[in-house]
């Protein structure tokens, strides 16, 4: 079977899929079936929070694909995530219809507010779900393709590439802050009502979004496994370890890099699209360089080059973030900063790497 071939010798991967599967079964049950008075009841808030973590995990896996396997440290993956989110947000805005504050049948509230006469051309088609979903993948993919093509073809790599990607997301943030862009400026897109006819406030919708996120995460994980275990994946790993040597052997390194970068951006876009209906807002702050770089620390903490480790890292860091920003908000940045230092200096292989090392040492000892 394909799955078992993909997960050959990947105990962590099996465990990861098992947890996801369990979550898909247990979480809806605990939210919808178990009465609220019970200890086992999961509130809708928690379900949404977990769904959010799953989206982050998918984003982390996307970054791990380029960083862990191809050695491209992108500090702008948040941009692809946000672009996917904006595409989804545009669909959700169009679904609001005449229920906005100004009651305009077609224009979103912020456009009415800015005295716009009609929808700009790039908003056309977003009332169709299939079109929006296509754009969720197409827009980040196209940007990654163009950027990657320009960058990798002229052999921009290492820290140069990292800073370029950071500049990319920074430039996009500045652009999206502008009202003239037609994406709601500072406030972004919000006040969504329903998705595919189902109210976004309903528990069942929330649970369904959670399940979709979990399924997307599992699929994304398996897809990435498929890529990295394929022959192409081997070449990509070779590029990471010895770019010049791979080039001299005769591979066109930049094609592999562009390809993997684009796939990763598409996955990040999908993660963003699942994220937006759950949190109910998308605004330019998602493009902040800090977000993208925080994402890197999730992957680094979990352990890069393992995929499920990235997902684990995303879950861990965000859980701590939720707890700490609630209890001691001023401590969070200290912790995050320390995390960057500790992980890079002491845990270069992340939690998963450390775990593997420990278990290996034990088995060697026996």
């Amino acid at each position: 079977m394909l799955v078992s071939r993909l997960l050959d010798h990947e105990r962590g991967g099996w465990a990861f899929l098992a947890v996801l599967l369990a979550a898909i079964v247990v979480v809806p049950f605990a939210n919808l079936m178990v009465p609220e008075s019970s200890v086992f009841h999961l509130s809708t808030y928690t379900v949404t929070l977990l769904g959010k973590y799953l989206c982050y995990a998918l984003l982390a896996i996307a970054l791990d694909l380029v960083w862990g396997y191809c050695g491209i440290l992108s500090l702008g993956h948040g941009a692809f995530f946000a672009l996917g989110g904006y595409a989804m947000g545009m669909y959700l805005m169009r679904q609001v219809g005449s229920r906005g504050v100004y009651g305009h049948p077609e224009l979103p509230d912020f456009m009415v507010f800015l005295d716009w006469e009609s929808l700009p051309w790039y908003w056309l088609g977003f009332d169709q779900f299939w079109f929006a979903m296509l754009m969720v993948m197409f827009v980040p993919g196209l940007l990654a393709f163009v950027f990657g093509w320009l960058a990798f073809r002229s052999r921009v790599s290492g820290v140069y590439l990292s800073i370029m990607t950071q500049a990319l997301t920074y430039a996009l943030m500045l652009a999206f802050f502008r009202n003239e862009m037609g994406f709601g400026g500072n406030n972004g897109l919000t006040d969504f009502k329903d998705i595919l006819g189902a109210s976004l406030q309903a528990d069942t919708t929330r649970v369904l979004l959670f399940v979709s996120s979990a399924v997307a995460l599992a699929t994304g994980y398996l897809l990435c496994r498929y890529i990295v275990t394929s022959k192409l994946g081997r070449v990509v790993t070779a590029v990471r370890d010895a770019e010049a040597r791979t080039r001299f052997i005769g591979y066109q390194v930049e094609l592999y890099q562009v390809w993997i970068f684009t796939v990763s951006a598409v996955i990040a876009g999908i993660a963003g699209a699942l994220y937006v209906p759950q949190v109910g807002i998308i605004n330019p702050s998602e493009f902040q360089p800090l977000n993208s770089i925080e994402l890197v620390v999730w992957v680094a903490l979990g352990g890069r080059g393992t995929l499920y480790g990235a997902a684990l890292g995303a879950g861990l860091v965000n859980y701590f973030k939720t707890v700490l920003t609630g209890a001691l908000p001023e401590v969070w940045l200290f912790v995050l900063g320390a995390l960057f230092v500790v992980v890079t200096v002491l845990l270069p292989k992340g939690v998963v790497g450390m775990w593997n090392q420990l278990t290996n040492r034990e088995s060697n000892g026996q």
Binding site: M164, A167, A244
Partner: protein, 527 residues
């Protein structure tokens, strides 16, 4: 009224009597009488004359209740006034809120007073004061003050004042009749960017009742003015660009040497700049009496503090990540978060107010309509100074020699007996110290807050990449040209778009020249 007129007309017994009579006659309801009394006072050399006119202008001239003594009143915090006799200057004690009645002035009178005060000032000893006086007369537009200018013109020795006087006379001549004088004035004012000139010329050009020749000349002069203004605009934009560029150079130059030597991007570089800015703030808090010298203290202090913080970062984090530039980037980013939050907890998340010393405020007027603020000017030269100092260190000292050796080939340098670890520490300290110095300069231009440094890391890196890694001259050229380009795009496309365009430009530029404007010569396939 009859009394007042009588006082004015009666022959003064002495200068003092005349003065007190004139001041007393200010106490009237008629603005016309106040006006003529003020003119009279302005013509006197009495030491209190200026004070009285100033008080009248600022609305501080009162009469004491139930008497006709003219007083200068200053409002007290608890209500009421402190009174001083206008004529003799002796204190008359405090009175309640209703203890004094204001001698009211209207706008026409105010304008006249400004002119009169300026006219008196025309004879001041300090030539700066005289120039200011001429300017005030021009702004007042009071044609009756023209004779004052003419008479001063004959006495004046100072060239700058003569120039100002001539300009002022030309501006007054613009209003004179239909004749040749006016035509000459119009032609003479074609290079005068004084705002009144433009209004007057526009009025003349649109006044249908005037001679077509004069109107034509006015139109011509307006066109020339327009062209001149545009030229100045370009010069000014260029200067603003250089100013922005000098800041970029200051911010990037430290990054450039650390990146050149160690191949490491220090993401906490922006925070080292921020620390420098905060040092300026602390210095001003510690020595509130010597704000004038605070920057001179802050520059070495910031260099030391930021340098020490930089060395600490190098020792505690970077040395363990040698040869792993991407990890270094992440770790130093972590450090930058910690530093930011530390400053936020230590001071406050809000911006701190850093004072500007007297000698840095104000602006240098190069020509009428073209002025340059001193702080930007000084910072530009300061950036050049820092650049020269750094160049000197790198070219003329032992450390510089070692730094250049390690930049070119680390292992070869090691083989020649250079202790590269020591060079790393020194370079990092130096780069960090310069970041601190940049912070002092920045504190004079922007708000000092915990996020000050954040915006500079991407910009500085762009400058370094654009100029070529490890090349000081490249950094200088790149920083200045990026600044200038940015400022020239800004008015056309807006600040945000300008920034985006510059970013895109650099991304495309690296396509063509991945090693920057001035690449280092070498044959390495990989770093």
């Amino acid at each position: 009224m009859v009394l007042a007129l009588g006082l004015l007309m009666s022959p003064p017994v002495s200068a003092d009597d005349a003065f007190s009579a004139a001041v007393k006659s200010l106490n009237t309801r008629s603005f016309a009488e106040k006006s003529s009394a003020a003119t009279l006072i302005a013509g006197m050399t009495h030491p209190r004359a200026g004070v009285v006119l100033e008080a009248m202008l600022t609305g501080n001239l009162y009469t004491k209740r139930r008497s006709d003594i003219v007083v200068i009143a200053s409002a007290l915090d608890q209500g009421g006034y402190r009174l001083v006799d206008a004529i003799s200057g002796e204190a008359l004690g405090d009175v309640g809120r209703r203890g004094a009645k204001k001698i009211s002035v209207n706008n026409g009178l105010r304008k006249q007073l400004r002119g009169l005060i300026a006219g008196r000032q025309l004879n001041h000893a300090d030539f700066q004061d005289r120039i200011e006086a001429v300017e005030a007369i021009v702004v007042s537009g009071d044609i009756q003050l023209r004779p004052l200018l003419v008479s001063r013109r004959q006495l004046e020795q100072e060239v700058a004042v003569l120039e100002a006087l001539d300009n002022a006379l030309v501006i007054f001549d613009l209003d004179v009749g239909n004749g040749a004088v006016r035509l000459a004035a119009i032609k003479a004012s074609a290079n005068n960017l004084h705002p009144t000139v433009r209004t007057k010329l526009t009025n003349i050009a649109s006044d249908q009742s005037l001679d077509p020749e004069i109107r034509g000349a006015a139109n011509q002069a307006l066109l020339e003015l327009e062209a001149l203004a545009n030229q100045y605009q370009i010069v000014e934009t260029f200067f603003f660009g250089l100013s922005l560029g000098s800041i970029l150079v200051l911010a990037a130059i430290g990054l450039s040497i650390t990146f050149g030597v160690m191949g490491v991007i220090n993401m906490a570089h922006g925070e080292l700049i921020m620390i420098g800015a905060y040092i300026t703030y602390v210095v001003q808090i510690l020595f509130p009496d010597i704000i004038e010298y605070s920057l001179l203290i802050a520059v070495p202090a910031a260099f030391c503090v930021s340098g020490i913080v930089g060395i600490m970062i190098e020792r505690s984090v970077i040395q363990f990540l040698y040869g792993r530039p991407l990890e270094t980037l992440l770790a130093t980013f972590g450090v930058s978060l910690i530093l930011q939050q530390a400053v936020r907890s230590l001071f406050s998340p809000l911006n701190r107010a850093v004072l500007t010393p007297e000698w840095m405020s104000g602006s240098l007027e190069i020509a009428q309509g073209l002025s340059i603020t001193y702080n930007r000017l000084y910072i530009f030269f300061f950036a050049l100074l820092v650049f020269a100092a750094l160049l000197l260190i790198l070219q003329r000292t032992r450390l510089g020699l070692e730094v250049r050796a390690v930049t070119q080939n680390r292992s070869m340098a090691k083989a020649m007996g250079i202790r590269s670890a020591r060079v790393d520490i020194m370079t990092f300290g130096l780069g960090a110290g310069i970041a601190g110095v940049a912070g002092v300069a920045l504190s004079q231009l922007t708000n000092v807050g915990p996020n000050l440094g954040q915006g500079y890391i991407v910009d500085s890196f762009m400058v370094v990449v654009f100029g070529g890694v490890g090349n000081l001259w490249g950094t200088l050229v790149a920083g200045l040209s990026l600044g200038v380009v940015n400022k020239f795009i800004e008015p056309v496309a807006g600040a945000v778009v300008a920034k985006i365009l510059v970013l895109i430009f650099i991304i495309l530029f690296i396509q063509k020249r991945p090693r920057g404007l001035f690449p280092q010569k070498g044959r390495a396939v990989e770093d």
